[in-house]
């Protein structure tokens, strides 16, 4: 080794975890969501291994990046070892919207490389790659079927030398390079250790559902998001959804208490809770089925609309039409503001939808529409969608945090478990600033609705149980339940 304390090799690479990515030029991938996962993009002129079993999407991922850059006039060279034929590969891409036939043979060039490997081993292959890079001067090189190299049975040392030389070669030629290999796992082979980045695409079955995930094992020179992130292969190609918990709250903390309050939309409730709800807070309406949680949420949204604040309703079980009808029955008009674009109603059946994709749609709508009030009707829907149920609490913490950062006041309904014994499982307290409990109580063989404040941040409030009434004029809060019981007032009809 050299006498001096070298900081990098000839091409500016280090074998450690240098922290100089702020100076490194990053390449945009052109894959929605991928740059965010990578911490801004891929460090240029580096060597990457994209691995994943057959059908995982690695060729699509690499070629989608290639097409994105070729459209900007950059040269892309696709070298194939033992992989599908060039014609088949082109045929498969042609189904995606990113495909552009005009680029083939011009900006995107295909070369077969297997005969060099078969004829002269790694040395001959390296020569071919050197000659191809010198001739074509591509900014992106994709080597498909890289496993053929391991299958050609080189010694470990030969393979390490090849990887080392290839890494230096692509760096010296200014070519960002992707090796595609149909394997899984981060094993200590030279293919994994001598590349600058290791990206794995995986797919597995969850019940009858197929789940696709991407994981960045390592990425020298970038501050990537750790762990797994969901992705989908759709007609536009691959779309990645960074895991919400890893993306929010990194740079923006929720706003400090402003002392500003917003009305709940129910005047009589505002009196009970000390004037209103703290702005940019999250309120949980926890209650039995049919007790009036959704009606309260509709009042909250309606109040904002009357003040010119754009609103968003997210529901999982009631269609927009049913919700509008429900609102109409308590004298709330949702149809007009929805038609005017002041109100968005996002209805999502809690079936096969990706949690982070849903979060992206919610936050995009909030940002684009300048939404100030969100009503999430049925937080259980989020729990049903979550592929990994243990993830739901952290996901909700992240989502609510981001809404607070965006200065949005949120109401969330949550169904109270039927059994009293199950109620201790409620995760409400850690997620919400405010919790209002809505219950049916029996009195003289009749049911009355009762509302209680369980938690209210930054407010003085009346902690007695109050009567709640729903009429065609909407929801109102009346006197104390204890007084009613004393005075033997008849219980209102349910």
């Amino acid at each position: 080794m050299a006498q001096d304390n070298k900081s990098s090799d000839a091409f500016g690479k280090t074998d450690g975890s240098r922290q100089t990515f702020g100076r490194i030029q990053l390449m945009k991938t052109g894959i929605p969501g991928f740059d965010e996962i990578l911490g801004g993009g891929l460090p240029k002129h580096s060597l990457y291994l994209i691995q994943g079993l057959a059908g995982s999407g690695k060729t699509t991922l690499a070629c989608q990046m290639g097409f994105a850059h070729a459209k900007d006039g950059e040269k892309v060279l696709i070298l194939t070892l033992i992989a599908e034929s060039h014609a088949k590969m082109i045929n498969h891409f042609s189904n995606f919207s990113f495909y552009d036939e005009k680029l083939i043979g011009n900006e995107i060039v295909f070369h077969g490389a297997y005969s060099s490997l078969a004829r002269g081993g790694l040395r001959e292959l390296l020569k071919l790659i050197t000659a191809s890079l010198s001739e074509q001067k591509p900014s992106i090189l994709i080597v498909d079927g890289f496993r053929s190299i391991r299958n050609s049975s080189p010694s470990d040392l030969d393979l390490s030398e090849f990887m080392h030389s290839l890494n230096s070669l692509v760096a010296s030629m200014g070519c960002t390079t992707f090796l595609l290999s149909p394997v899984e796992g981060n094993v200590p082979d030279s293919e994994n250790t001598l590349v600058d980045g290791l990206i794995e695409l995986s797919q597995y079955e969850h019940g009858m559902r197929l789940v696709r995930e991407v994981k960045v094992f390592k990425m020298r020179g970038a501050d990537h998001l750790l762990g797994k992130h969901a992705f989908a292969v759709c007609p536009d190609g691959i779309v990645m959804y960074p895991r919400l918990e890893t993306t929010v709250g990194k740079t923006n903390a929720p706003p400090a208490a402003t002392g500003e309050y917003v009305s709940s939309g129910i005047l009589t409730l505002d009196r009970v809770i000390g004037g209103g709800i703290v702005k940019a807070s999250v309120t949980n309406l926890l209650g039995s089925p049919g007790v009036g949680k959704t009606s309260m949420g509709l009042h909250f949204i309606d109040e904002g609309l009357k003040k010119g604040e754009p609103g968003l309703i997210i529901g999982f079980y009631e269609s927009p039409q049913r919700l509008m009808e429900k609102a109409r029955r308590i004298s709330i008009d949702l149809a007009t503001p929805a038609a005017r674009g002041q109100l968005d109603i996002m209805w999502q059946l809690p079936l096969e939808v990706l949690l982070d994709e849903l979060a992206g749609r919610i936050l995009d709508t909030v940002r684009q529409r300048g939404v100030k009030r969100v009503f999430l009707d049925g937080v259980e829907g989020i729990r049903h969608i979550a592929m990994h149920p243990e993830r739901a609490p952290a996901f909700l913490v992240a989502l609510f945090n981001e809404l607070r950062v965006l200065d949005v006041t949120t109401f969330v309904t949550e169904q109270l478990p039927y059994k009293q014994s199950d109620r201790s499982n409620s995760s409400a307290s850690a997620l919400y600033e405010n919790i209002l409990l809505l219950e049916f109580v029996e009195h003289d063989d009749a049911h009355m609705r009762q509302i209680s404040v369980m938690k209210l941040r930054e407010n003085g409030y009346d902690n007695a149980n109050h009567l709640m009434i729903i009429s065609d004029q909407g929801v109102s809060v009346d006197g104390y339940i204890s007084d009613i019981k004393k005075n033997l007032r008849p219980a209102p009809e349910r």
Partner: protein, 118 residues
């Protein structure tokens, strides 16, 4: 065919440059330190020398000083490269071009072609 001597202790660099220069029609000799390079120079006279600074056994500055003393070899174009130029007394030797690592091959081949056609 012009002959280039590349001296660097990092094998991936000598390997890569060799392949690239060969593609561009040059013959290449490689050595991993100054002493090894001096031994090669006893047998063949290159048209141009490229040397790293930081190397074991004999560093690039010492190597250059030795080469300068030879009336024939001392006149051949000499390119020195280093990732940390401030650590070396570059002013103590005569060089035709200094390249700060990292650099890309385009810059190196331009330098070589310019020096060889002067």
């Amino acid at each position: 065919m012009k002959l280039i001597l590349i001296v660097d202790d990092e094998i991936d660099i000598t390997e890569t440059f060799s392949l690239l220069f060969e593609v561009h029609g040059y013959e290449v000799l490689t050595a991993t330190n100054g002493r090894e390079a001096l031994a090669l120079l006893q047998k063949r006279v290159p048209d141009l020398i490229i040397s790293d600074c930081m190397m074991p056994v004999m560093d690039g500055i010492t190597f250059r000083k030795q080469v300068q003393q030879d009336p024939v070899l001392g006149e051949k174009p000499f390119v020195l490269m280093s990732a940390a130029p401030d650590q070396h007394d570059l002013a103590s030797v005569k060089i035709d071009r200094f390249l700060k690592k990292p650099f890309q091959f385009d810059e190196l081949i331009d330098t070589v072609q310019t020096l060889l056609h002067k």
